[in-house]
Structures are given as structure tokens and as C-alpha cells.
Subunit: 194 residues, 2 copies
Amino acid sequence: MSSKEKILSAAIVLFAQKGYSGLSMRQLALAVDLSVAAIYHHFPDKNTLYLEAVRFAFSDKEQVFDQVWGSDCSAEEKLSRFIRSFIDVMLEDHDFHRLMQREILEADPERMQLLAQGVFTSQFCLLMQLATELAPEQDAHLLATSVIGLAKYYIEYQPLLKYFPGWKPEHEMPEVIAAHITTLLLNSFKATTA
Amino acid sequence: MSSKEKILSAAIVLFAQKGYSGLSMRQLALAVDLSVAAIYHHFPDKNTLYLEAVRFAFSDKEQVFDQVWGSDCSAEEKLSRFIRSFIDVMLEDHDFHRLMQREILEADPERMQLLAQGVFTSQFCLLMQLATELAPEQDAHLLATSVIGLAKYYIEYQPLLKYFPGWKPEHEMPEVIAAHITTLLLNSFKATTA
DNA sequence: ATGACCTTACTGAACGTTTGTTAGGTATCT
DNA sequence: AGATACCTAACAAACGTTCAGTAAGGTCAT
């Protein structure tokens, strides 16, 4: 792995942990065992380093779900598998998830557009297509958003949810969350088509 | 309004915008038209100022939904009203919402516990109770989470969602979002009890 | 009523540290 | 010789924090 890549992947982790202004160039330099000036040899300034780190983190997240869409099973089964894969990815790659949360918080319009069109569009379209298949007379965009929203919320708010009454350890298990969301959605679709 | 309150309410807005390390004491002092030392007269240091600001922001959010729970209508209608109120509050008090997002990102266990038990527990319990009423054989905690998760996601991810294909301006209207979520959930409940 | 005294709310200036960034120099490899 | 990858050392600016001082307001004995 080249120094530049080492810097980028360390930056992803640290920016995700501490945020843009929370991470100093010296801390990053220390983490990759280089001098500060060495970082400035590879990147013109902190801001473009951050942008490149974000782009780097998002670069290989596109084709994770190919096995889901490729499999030839029922639409219901596809939804179930997508939800499960989505939760797994988000739980696995925690840094990616937190970096994304920070980007959403920042909500810079230009970067939002880049993120949407450059990274997630194809997945979102496939999900909308699946939604249309399952509930033809409903708004596909709203439905696709609901699917992702349900899954994302369970993961993002885990640290808070565990302090609410009625919480059980199983509420943090991917298969339990996935099963709950899937049945919730499929039940809803069943009612609308009936 | 006292100087202390003026500092706190300005801090809420600015911490929500820039994050903890993104806001300097000098910037805050400038915003409230006081000297930096004046702030230190009211608060021992930046960290406790932040904590007090968070507590201040969350302090009067408890009894917003009293009219929802107080009204004597069907459980379905109550769910519909709660979702609508929840979305309205989150859209209205944007600073509160962003500050909460930042707190979740930080995910400090002690503060999560404080937030959960001190601020949101009663609302969450009422929502769980409603969920049990609507779908007795399902996990109330998971259901309550789903309700909030659906609503929150639509608001948090608005800046991103608008760049996906199939987006329409109406997807940002509170009544449209609320209606979609409500029917989605009620349909699901209908299927499970049938 | 007045001067002494304490508290409260603030100010300007400074403390030492950390920040992003750069200049100049040194190896290593083509 | 020139490009590449790195270093140490320094820069000004901004950072959180503190200190000494001041002006205003209330309290209280005289």
C-alpha cells in the first residue's frame, strides 16, 4: 500500500471518529508515522484531503449488493436479502457509516449531489424497481426511502435505543432487525395489494 | 433574557451548525456581543458550556406531544397524529434536530443514558403502549423504533434524497411524508392482526 | 444621606498551546 | 540531472483559558 493510500485510509477512520475540525494534520501524521510535510506533499491542503478521503471511502461500495440483485428468487426474498445485506454492510464498515452520517450533517448541496449520483443512484433505482414490483400503486421513491430509513435508523440509534425500557440484547442482532423490518414491510405490501 | 440564556441559545445554534470543535469561544462571544472572558464568567470551560447547551436544548421538548396522547380518539388516529407532530417538530426546530444528530454521532454512553432516560423515555413508553394496542403480538420496542426511524430518516436525509431519481417536491411536504408512513404502518398492522 | 464594603457582570490584554501551512534541505531512484 | 518522497524547523494565526481591573448595584453601620 502506497503512502498516499495509507494516509487516505487512516484519514477515513479518524475523520469518521473526530470530524473534520476535530482531526489535526499532526494527529493524522502521527497515525500514519509520517511527518506533516509528507502529507502536504501528497495533498495540497486539509480540505482536499478530506474530500479525497470521502471519495475513497465511497469508491468501492457500489457493487456490494450485486449478489442480491443477481439472484433469481422472488421479489419478497430479494427484499429480505437486500435488507439483511444492507444492515450487515453498515454494521461491518462502521467508519464508512459514520463518515456518511457526518456528510449528511454537513449537507453541502454539491457534495450531496455527488454522493447521490456518483455512489448510490444505481442501488436506489434497483430498490425502487423492487418496490414497484411489490406495491405497484404506491410511490416507489417513498417506499425505497422507507426501506433504507428503517434499516439505517436501527443502526445509527443503537447507542441510544439500548437505554429505553423494553430493550433486549437481541434488538442489536442483525438477523432480528432484518426480520422485523422485512415482515413489517411485506405485511404492509400484502395489505395494499389485497 | 439574561446573558447566560443568550449565550446558551446562541451556543445551541452554533454547536448544531459547526460541531463542538468547529465553534470557538471567540466566535460565540462575537455572536452574543460579549467578551470571551464574560462567557468564562458564566461557564467554567467549553465542555461544560456545551453540555449545558445540550441540556438546555432538550429541556422543553418533553411536553410537545401531550395534546396527541391526551386526545381521546382511536389508536390509529393517535398514531397518525403522533407521526405528524413528530415530523413537524423536527422540521421546525432544526437546530435541536442537528444537535441531537451530533450527540448520536458522538455516542458517549453516559450522555446517551442521560438523553434517553431524562428526555425521551416517557414519549417512547407511550409510543410502545400505542404499538402494543395496534399490534399486540409484535415486539413493542422494535415497532416504536420503526415509527421514529421512518420519520427521522425522511427528515435527516432530505438533502440527499432530492438528488435521487423519482424525487418530487411533495416528498418534502410534512403531510405527504406523514401520510405515507402512517399508511405503511397501519397496513402492516392490519395484515398481522388479520 | 453617606461612605465602606461585598457581590455580580463584565472588559482588555495576555498566557502558553495547537492549528494549518510552508520554506529549505536531504536522501533515493530513474 | 531531475523527479519523487520525505525530513526538520519554522511561520502567523487561532485556540482555550486566565488574570487584573472596572463599573454598577445592593447592604449596612454610622
